[in-house]
Subunit: 227 residues, 2 copies
């Protein structure tokens, strides 16, 4: 029986991928890994743990202290403010951590290798890729080859959301029964819960749910609890 390892960030996309993997590989054949890389929003780690627990999936948290040592990104460096739009010099958002997904997937592959798992699942998408070149199909294909050759191991990188819009991903989550789990996910770049609703990540998420014609379970949860 094939088994799969899902890279679970605690966000909407990777949570949807977890449910995709449960459907594709079957309950009991899926594990999840989350990276604690010094992200400024520690709530992502709690969300990932809760999503994995609710899904009944074994969950490994691996530390990566290297990005913080590298510095220079708003995602890990608390001295840098998250800026909307692109950095003028690099034409990339200042939340860009160079090579972040390459590192995540390589460590996920190493964990998969150790556990004789041959399928790694990631929620990257090039449709709404926000300027991140390490989320593109061509990058993932080159990386898959590097991992196969570098570990001398049969490994497939699955990217079920690669060509989906946010709205299509929402519909996919609905079809997979993943909507309740999305109430436990975190998206807001400001780290707020309830989400700020104004940062680029919140706006993109809201747009996806709106276009799919489905209320965001995360927003609904806080609406229920407000006076």
């Amino acid at each position: 029986m094939d088994t799969a390892l899902v890279v679970l960030s605690g966000g909407q996309d990777s949570t949807t991928c977890l449910y995709w993997a449960l459907r594709r590989f079957g309950t009991g054949n899926v594990a999840a890994v989350t990276f604690d890389y010094g992200q400024r929003h520690r709530i992502e780690l709690a969300c990932a743990a809760r999503v994995a627990m609710q899904a009944g999936v074994p969950h490994t948290v691996l530390p990566i202290n290297t990005f913080a040592a590298l510095g220079g990104s708003a995602l890990t460096d608390l001295d840098i403010t998250v800026q909307p739009g692109m950095n003028a010099g690099t034409q990339l958002p200042n939340t860009f951590v160079p090579g972040r997904n390459l590192i995540f997937l390589t460590f996920a592959a190493a964990l998969a290798y150790q556990r004789a798992i041959h399928h790694v699942v990631t929620g990257v998408a090039q449709t709404d890729y926000s300027g991140y070149p390490d989320c593109r199909q061509a990058t993932l294909q080159a990386l898959e080859q590097a991992l196969q050759l570098g570990m001398d191991y049969d490994l497939t990188l699955h990217t079920p959301l690669m060509f989906k819009s946010k709205a299509e991903t929402v519909l996919m989550a609905r079809d997979l029964g993943a909507l309740p789990a999305l109430a436990d996910t975190h998206t807001c770049y400001q780290g707020q819960r309830p989400p700020c609703g104004e940062c680029p990540a919140c706006v993109l998420r809201a747009k996806g749910f709106a276009e799919a014609g489905i209320p965001d379970p995360l927003v609904e949860r806080f609406r229920e609890h407000s006076p």
Copy 2:
């Protein structure tokens, strides 16, 4: 003027590559990076720092705490004994850390990106590659492509030793004036200084110097100091 970043482990091969880079890119255009990944032989870090200092090259040490968390390799896990030969199951040495060079080179590329450096140099060689698939030319080519695409950045991975035997590497070190620096390098898998002379790494190193007809400066240094 092109600049280069050398992945410096503190061993013979990466030290030779540092001098290759100094010749190729010029003094003042070379930097070095060493990874503190929990290697059992901490002396490698001291060797790398000394080699960089003697060469007058700025030196960055980046921590990686992930391999130790992954566990399972004799190189980082002190509970595992280094075994000569191959693991029967994987046909790889039990010092194999899956994806280690992929991770090193990806973090090196991230550091290069931040510093606007477009050349990364590594001492991997497939000639004497000891069973490590992440040292092969095909792996490095695939990784170079993944890095270029994933960072949207013009980056060249240089592997000046890829097809050289250990003896050829020794001759190259001599021609580059790197022999004195090799006295500061560390090779022994047992972590001993003077080197044990019996582990596979020491034997391979000694064979290279013997075939090149050149005394190993490291061995010579300890011979001078012994009674």
